[in-house]
């Protein structure tokens, strides 16, 4: 599992490969916070290659969403598969996040 960070057109894109769970969530959090502290304000997290997310992973996304918003930034989530969509809906986090069907759609929405 890994988190790949790339930047283009003023958007920081993070690809989540594998799981986003209690054992690795801090790594994602730190990577995004480092970019936020470096002045970046537009973030997209792409779950196209993600297996599963647990409650700790969801918690980190909630935390990042708040921190980005506090800095007048924006966060988009993209490419949630059916399992992840279900997870977000069960927890009602689909109401909290801006979720795009595709990476292109997420990037175009900034």
């Amino acid at each position: 599992m890994s988190f790949q960070v790339s930047k283009s057109n003023g958007v920081v894109a993070v690809d989540v490969d594998g799981q986003l769970i209690v054992g690795n969530r801090q790594e994602l959090k730190q990577k995004v916070l480092d970019e936020l502290e470096g002045g970046e304000r537009k973030f997209m997290i792409d779950f196209a290659n993600t297996g599963y997310i647990d409650s700790s992973g969801l918690g980190v996304l909630v935390s990042l969403s708040k921190k980005i918003r506090e800095q007048n930034g924006e966060l988009r989530l993209a490419n949630l598969n059916e399992d992840l969509r279900t997870l977000f809906e069960l927890t009602k986090l689909d109401t909290l996040f801006n979720i795009a069907d595709s990476r292109d759609q997420a990037l175009a929405s900034f």
Binding site: I21, G23, Y52, I53, D83, L90, K92
Partner: protein, 160 residues
């Protein structure tokens, strides 16, 4: 599967459920590999789809994390024990820790609007949503989980 190979004879009796136990230190880095191991065992018994990839994987992850974090206080010298009974119909797991336990009913609803932006508090909720049976022992340091291979999927259309 071995029990399907007894062709030619009378119909075989349903195989006995398989039982085994795992014991691991309270190190969060072990969770992914334990979930993957159990997932593969279930795939061998033709478990699949969202009940495996969502319900089982996330539910199991929550149970192990709760045992390590809240039960054993992240003390790596304390163990988490997972007793597994599985067959083609269901998997039953007892996840126990060395902690003092807790009251699983004292967990606020994380989907309530006032709680939705909280960063924690979704673990027990998800466990109960994703597993078919969730039963804590009296003091709350062991939980019995059951997931049936077949059953309703928590589909997005179901409104769950």
């Amino acid at each position: 599967m071995s029990f399907l190979d007894r062709s030619g004879g009378p119909a075989p009796a349903a195989p006995e459920p398989e039982e085994f136990a795992l014991e691991l230190p309270s190190d969060l880095r072990h969770i992914e590999s334990v979930v993957a191991y159990l997932e593969n065992r279930l795939r061998e018994l033709e478990y699949g789809g969202p009940r495996l990839t969502l319900n089982f994987r996330v539910g199991m992850c929550e149970a192990l994390a709760n045992a390590m974090i809240y039960g054993n206080g992240r003390d790596a010298t304390k163990r988490v024990r997972v007793s597994v009974t599985l067959d083609r119909a269901r998997v039953s797991l007892m996840v126990s820790d060395e902690g003092a336990g807790f009251d699983p009913d004292c967990v606020p609803d994380p989907t309530a609007p006032a709680n939705r932006e909280r960063t924690g508090g979704r673990g027990i909720f998800l466990l109960r949503k994703l597993m078919d049976e969730v039963e804590y022992n009296a003091c709350g340091n062991a939980v019995r989980l059951v997931l049936n291979r077949e059953g309703p999927v928590r589909s997005r259309a179901s409104g769950e």
